[in-house]
Symmetry: none
Subunit: 245 residues, 2 copies
Amino acid sequence: MKVKEVADLVGISVRTLHHYDDIGLLTPEQTTESGYRIYSEMDLERLQQILFFKELDFPLKKIKEIIDSPSFNQAEALEMQRNMLLDKRDRVDTMIRTIDKTIKYKQGEIVMSNKEKFDGFDFSHNPYEQEARERWGDKAVDESNAKMNRMTNEEKKEFEETFHAIYRELAVVRHEDPASEIAQKRIGEWFEFLNQMGTYSLDAFKGLGQMYVDDERFTKNIDQFGNGLAIFMRDAMAVYADKRK
Amino acid sequence: MKVKEVADLVGISVRTLHHYDDIGLLTPEQTTESGYRIYSEMDLERLQQILFFKELDFPLKKIKEIIDSPSFNQAEALEMQRNMLLDKRDRVDTMIRTIDKTIKYKQGEIVMSNKEKFDGFDFSHNPYEQEARERWGDKAVDESNAKMNRMTNEEKKEFEETFHAIYRELAVVRHEDPASEIAQKRIGEWFEFLNQMGTYSLDAFKGLGQMYVDDERFTKNIDQFGNGLAIFMRDAMAVYADKRK
DNA sequence: ATTGACCCTCACGCTACGTGATACTCTATA
DNA sequence: TATAGAGTATCACGTAGCGTGAGGGTCAAT
């Protein structure tokens, strides 16, 4: 599909599509020789995601971060957006009630406190942003990705070998208690290793562990070294983090 | 009340209040000798109005025009805003349904057309702006007549656009009484429009309205412009026809 | 008399596009 | 086959609605 077709379909401007391309938020899969942007089905689905987040007042930059995050999971996102929209509807309902009250108030039928007059507004913060950040946005995770990108291929290989080694060592003890001494020692090595790249707080570390289980791409990857390793690591990482706080 | 008290009460920033003062949208009634802005009850009520319009995506400039218009009437405005919020809730509901569909679609349970994937979006125009302009703006009435005249001269595409425009205008008032003045005025435009294509008798017009509800192909088509529009149109068309016989 | 929370006014920065200007591409039709 | 008309492209500057300091007064409490 060409720009205008897409624009008309979803009700946004051509300029907006150009803009999304400029900032790398939505770059069409194909372009013709003459430079026309051609949007695929997948592009459209990405656009749908973008618009949902936008409706919920996420800035474009954050939307990009979220959607491009390696741990992004569309099914989860949709469910989250659903909840946010339900919230939004509640807010609109509250505002409608506020209007009804105001009408009566104006007719002298009831009294209204100042606070009541503004019920349903309060845009002061985006309550969903935190939520999204917790699920996909952890700065620590992003940072380590950025570092990964800056590394050369050689370095990457070396790096990979090191952490595969740690995985293997962990896999060996994965049937032990996650709180056991040996498990904690090895998970400690893991923590230190990660801290060589980016700085992981204990909370971020714990969160990362949870992600190993929640995001099946991680789970698959990790469980290659031994079935149930992801779950074991999550538990061990939680114990490790909690003990040190 | 001083700036921060107001800001905290309604959940906006102090800077925003400054900005509204700068552009003359909300200038506090009083200032202390030292230059502190002091907001009165009336200022708060004006602010409430402003925020309602803002929630409905009116630009600040237009909000100022509207509120400062000599023909502005607060009671009327509140009622209008109420309708707009009802519409907004409909849109949110539609989006929620779209999400639900998308979830099922992703699981392979159903198929989804591209149009369906973006149901509930379409920000392409603010249907309320026109409405507000008509009630409180200056240009008022002739515009629709002018539209009609241009229509006869031009081609099919514009033709279609025009009647979509009428649908949209009708959709805006669909929460009003079908017998109300505004509803009748707009349904009258519809009648005239149809009579430029073929000649409709009043009875045929009424019958057509009934068909909008009986034939679900019509219903679907019409309700794209707003849930319940078909039923509203049928009722308004019936009233229109009966009154003129 | 001092501190800390609040207030003021510039004034520049930022996001998410809007709005031309200028030029190329594609398709339908005379 | 030439030409118009609708669409597309890339600059590049403009705009709205604030955010974010900087630099400096004000006010009540300690």
